[in-house]
Symmetry: C2
Subunit: 696 residues, 2 copies
């Protein structure tokens, strides 16, 4: 996985025809095209479709009507076909996995409920049949799934088990006599829960259950199970409505329970494990653990697409807040007759511009992830190592982008004040809908722990007999940069120590290599330190080993977080190479620096404690952000959000429409005219105080 | 203001009758009573009332019905009278300002919309008449306001001006001929906006406008203006509905505009400024600026009560998440047949326990604020300095508690996973409703800037000719601790340097004096540094001065934030003295240490850069949290939330009801019985691998 960043590439963009830009301005058309990435056509097609008001979130509807409307929108989407590209060409799809996800992500501007409900139908329910089933399932089930003739649920999560899917309680016990599987949810905690399409619309489900045959349990497998007909639940199936949620209320999430429900043997989605008529189990994957993770791994697209949708939502939120911040005025500073534009305030810049930098980093990192995903699912780069790398990359990036999206949307909402709280300006609704992204398709903390374990196992694989030299080599290998070698690292640390007394010396981190070194060094040192502390677990009792692991759990997750930040930074840095306009490169480099500096600033204590930065240099990081980067980037803020390429039909926020500017202009003109006419009243403070106080 | 913390005291609690506690456990009954504070009776009365389902948020209603329901609830509240305590005894109130706010804050458990709509009616509209009006207004208007016969809006904010109230565009021009004021909103930005009760229910409003008479504008004053009768808006008044919001949808926020609306001269709320029949303006406060701030200052109770409501909401969220975290199990660690309780995971503790510490700190700090508020409004401690201190304290605490509430509720929601996203578990709805608290009644960033300016002016008042000695004295004075004097500070810094090489030495910050010193030193050093940098502004041009101020704005706000954190820490520390049970004091002291350590950890880079902590000691801070404080506090987490004293009718979250424990027990029993009976299938991995792979 360590070289994944190097293996997948963002294509260099050919210069597209664009209107000449003002000298000093970035080329927003060029940048906008670049941001659309490899699957620009799919994104454009999806965006074009999402301009149609028929797809837009309607805040005026009650719960029932929202659900009904989104179901109807799903039908329109099925007809348009743009989100069905991943299905087999033979069945009307395009076998195009990257384009499919790209198109899917763009739906978020219309309505996240629509996005996630279509994700449930085609990305989970349909993808499970596609990836866990075999030819017979594809032919039999996929046409109905694709056309939405059969809306379905993805019945994996249970009330009692979300993160630990391997421990679910639902069973599918094979009955040789009838050649059927018998599905049971034997206790309340085993009920399937939080399933989209389960409360109302689903007529079938892919049910995950412990496969039991001949008295042996073979672990979690997936079964195609019809659940409803026109009259409601089929016999021995019941359910509950999850009711109103914090967001995504266009989706009918619910619970399902099964009491001896029988399905034919052939309904086992048998790509990775099968049961013969006589009840004999077989699988090409010997290890039950590896088999489980292989099956689960085929469903990585959920995480990939949430990462991408978070990028789109973050762009939208910042477009709104930065547009408004560039028009809104409040308080006078120097000129008492003219109020300041709020984005000119340093604090406002501090609140929004680092988040803009993060959004760009997320966007470029997502392009890498999507490229890796497409490589695996197209078969072009699909070794076991590729799959494992993809899963780790998704597990690293999805937590950061989904958390960041919530922070970004929230800051955007606060930066718009009371106007930001109105549904008509979309930010609160967008945040509410994306809230669940941080815990579904893998709880963020659990995913980061998986990443940490991968980092540890990579580390221990390389350094069974670790010494300092090997460690430094690992650091270099991790970033795939030959220039950053062991001696370089050592020298660098020395340089920091030597230059400790030089105030405001930030020059040393302005180049990419130094930022990379600081960020990489932190990840690797944390991993090496954790590996050292956890080594004792190998010889400890299970209880002691678990306690030792638990005592380091927080830092493990922080190490994974730092690793994911590095991946984002690397993606941003590499993306700079693909931009052909010099001014745009310059401004984007400042933005990348802001991203890198903000990461270093956030973890400044670590760099100080571990002797990587002197106190003076650490202080200079903050000064450089405030005194250099924010003022430099401020004039380009609007261009940088305009490059996201949203059209008014995607934005649909009153405050980002120019209405604020019109109001400001009207008020200013009102006062100008009155002052010119001499009819504006005189301020009291311009009179003598004496004449006003006391009764006269 | 610097001594405010010392001047207001939290009463020492008499030991109340409580059931004997298990040895080693804290006395939750005693602590619960203590947390209720000075106005425990008012809180208990309000909580008792809020158990009634008639007051509870009903998630099933559409926008119109929510608004109607909350209006009806307001009537019940008016009848119950508990939120009318602040009004004059002569009119049926109790002249009891502290009790009034305490009762008001507890409404948040029932429905934040009900809280805020009652705040609009009695805390803003009513309080404006009470505090800005005089006897004639009280007699004429308050009875209808108190009884809700006259629902009203508080028409201060405009679309164009929120934070900068002094610059509002609405005018009230005196017409000597008719002895009336003529109210105008001359352009769109001057429309009153975001006003509760404006869209539907309000029949009157207190309208803030620039008072103009005899061609002079005397600044913002308040006017009582009827706006609607049974047929709708009165002539020349119009409005718009703000529509759906991110939360608080039980309130009918809207816009108002006025086109030459005439009200009698007597409708000017004339406590601080009046206009005679002939148009002559008079005020007891000569300075227009001071007059404005005096009028605005009377409305501080909004900020005070949001601070308190945020405390109550944070307690509720943590009660839910910690109760659930103590019952929910996921993943096995040492014992493969028994899953771990999720609150036993270090990461889960790291996510929730520091937030529990913050909530206790917020709670004790709020008690101080409410005491100061009551002192000013009862007249017991109501000098100009007292008022100014109160306003600064409110401006410091409200931002921290409202932001913390959002973070706490969000972490609670994420810690409950998918269940946390269901409306039935309340967290998402609570967060949505409290979202606006961070920007209304004073945008948090703007409030903190006010605090920073106060810190700077206090500083410059004391040190017009500052030297190092005076600074150290100021540091000591700030915390009101004679023991922390200049030499002590210097010695301490030395000690830190000397002991730099001792690993894991955290003993030095475990005592309160050292924590205080670290926290205080940071505030004071930041303020002194900022004062030094801003000194040049005195001799600069307005443009240069504004630029200089702006270049330091972010750090100014951070200094104010640090100051507010110190106030919270001081309040927590002082509160420890009032607890009479030794074990409870011990556990609360760990919790206070966790709060203090978390603050220091958050700003660790500052302590390192400024030489206050050596690298080893800085690293030890984190280790001490992870290795000592979290494990010590874990066994008491449930007791610490039980001490909040909520009853099931306040909590109303399915996952905090014991349902999760019942599900866990049922599942465990199911497996126990089957294992005992020998009917549980054998796991595949216990068989030989060979027999399973390949076709046979």
């Amino acid at each position: 996985m360590t070289n994944l960043v190097d293996r997948v590439t963002v294509p260099t963009l050919l210069t597209v025809a664009s209107t000449p830009t003002t000298p000093g301005s970035i080329d927003t058309a060029l940048l906008g095209e670049y941001l659309l990435g490899t699957w620009a056509d799919a994104r454009r097609e999806s965006r074009r479709l999402m301009k149609d008001a028929a797809f837009h979130r309607d805040d005026s509807l009650n719960l029932d009507d929202q659900r009904e409307r989104v179901l109807g929108q799903l039908r329109l989407l099925a007809d348009a076909g743009s989100v069905l590209k991943a299905f087999p060409t033979a069945l009307g799809g395009e076998d195009n996995h990257g384009a499919n996800i790209a198109a899917f992500e763009e739906i978020v501007t219309a309505d996240p409920s629509l996005q996630i409900k279509s994700g449930v139908q085609w990305g989970l329910f349909g993808a499970a049949v596609l990836h866990l089933g075999t030819q017979r399932h594809h032919e039999r089930f996929l046409p109905g799934i694709m056309s939405l003739e059969v809306p379905g649920a993805f019945a994996m999560t249970e009330t009692g088990h979300g993160s630990d899917v391997a421990a679910i309680g639902t069973t599918a016990t094979y009955d040789e006599a009838t050649e059927e599987f018998v599905i049971d949810t034997p206790f309340r905690a085993a009920w399937k829960d939080y399933l989209g399409n389960a409360a109302l619309h689903g007529t079938a489900a892919v049910v995950f259950a412990q496969l039991v045959t001949k008295g042996v349990t073979h672990g979690v497998h997936a079964f195609y199970v019809p659940i409803r007909d026109a009259h409601g639940f089929l016999p021995n199936i019941g359910g509950e409505d999850d009711g109103l949620k914090g967001g995504l209320n266009g989706i009918d999430n619910g619970r399902l329970h099964f009491d001896g429900v029988r399905v034919p043997r052939e309904n086992l989605l048998n790509r990775y494990g099968d049961v013969a008529a006589d009840g004999t189990y077989s699988s090409a994957i010997a290890s039950p653990g590896r088999r489980f993770f292989t099956m689960i791994g085929t469903l990585v697209q959920g995480r990939v697409s949430l990462d991408g949708a978070s990028v789109v939502a973050s762009k939208l939120a910042l477009f709104i807040a930065i547009t408004y911040g560039s028009q809104r005025r409040q308080f006078t500073a120097a000129d008492p007759t003219k109020e300041e534009v709020i984005l000119d305030y340093q604090r406002h810049q501090r609140r929004l511009l680092p988040k803009l930098a993060t959004t760009y980093a997320m966007s470029f990192a997502h392009e890498k992830l999507l490229t890796a995903f497409d490589g695996v699912f197209s078969g072009a780069r699909a070794t076991d190592a590729d799959r494992e790398d993809l899963e780790t990359l998704a597990a690293a990036l999805k937590p950061l982008s989904t958390w960041s999206a919530l922070e970004i949307i929230q800051e955007a909402r606060e930066a718009c004040g009371g106007a930001g709280f109105l549904a008509e300006n979309r930010l609160t609704q967008l945040r509410a809908d994306l809230d669940i992204y941080v815990t579904f398709e893998g709880d963020n903390n659990v995913l980061l722990q998986l990443v940490a374990k991968r980092l540890l196992s990579d580390y221990s694989r390389k350094f069974r007999n670790a010494d300092a030299g090997a460690l430094a080599g690992y650091v270099a290998g991790q970033v795939g940069d030959a220039a950053v070698n062991r001696s370089g690292l050592r020298k660098f640390v020395q340089t920091v120590a030597d230059f400790g007394s030089t105030a405001r010396s930030v020059g040393f981190v302005r180049d990419a290599a130094s930022q990379r070194q600081l960020l990489t060094d932190r990840v690797q040192t944390m991993v090496a330190s954790l590996a050292g502390r956890l080594r004792a677990a190998q010889k400890a009792s299970p209880t002691e080993a678990a306690a030792l692991f638990n005592a380091n759990q927080n830092e493990l997750i922080e190490a994974a977080f730092a690793h994911a930040e590095l991946l984002q930074w690397e993606a941003f840095t590499e993306a700079l190479e693909g931009v052909t306009d010099a001014r745009t490169v310059e401004v984007l480099t400042w933005l990348r620096d802001l991203f890198g500096f903000t990461l270093i600033e956030k973890n400044l204590a670590w760099y100080l404690i571990n002797g990587r930065l002197s106190a003076q240099r650490a202080a200079a990081i903050t000064d450089y952000i405030d005194d250099r980067l924010l003022p430099r980037l401020r004039p380009h803020a609007l261009d940088l959000v305009n490059a996201f390429g949203f059209e008014p039909e995607h934005v649909r926020a009153a405050i980002a429409s120019g209405a604020e500017r019109a109001r400001q202009d009207e008020a200013a003109e009102y006062f100008r005219v009155r002052r010119a006419a001499g009819i504006e009243p005189v301020p009291e403070k311009s009179l003598t105080k004496k004449s006003l106080t006391g009764k006269r």
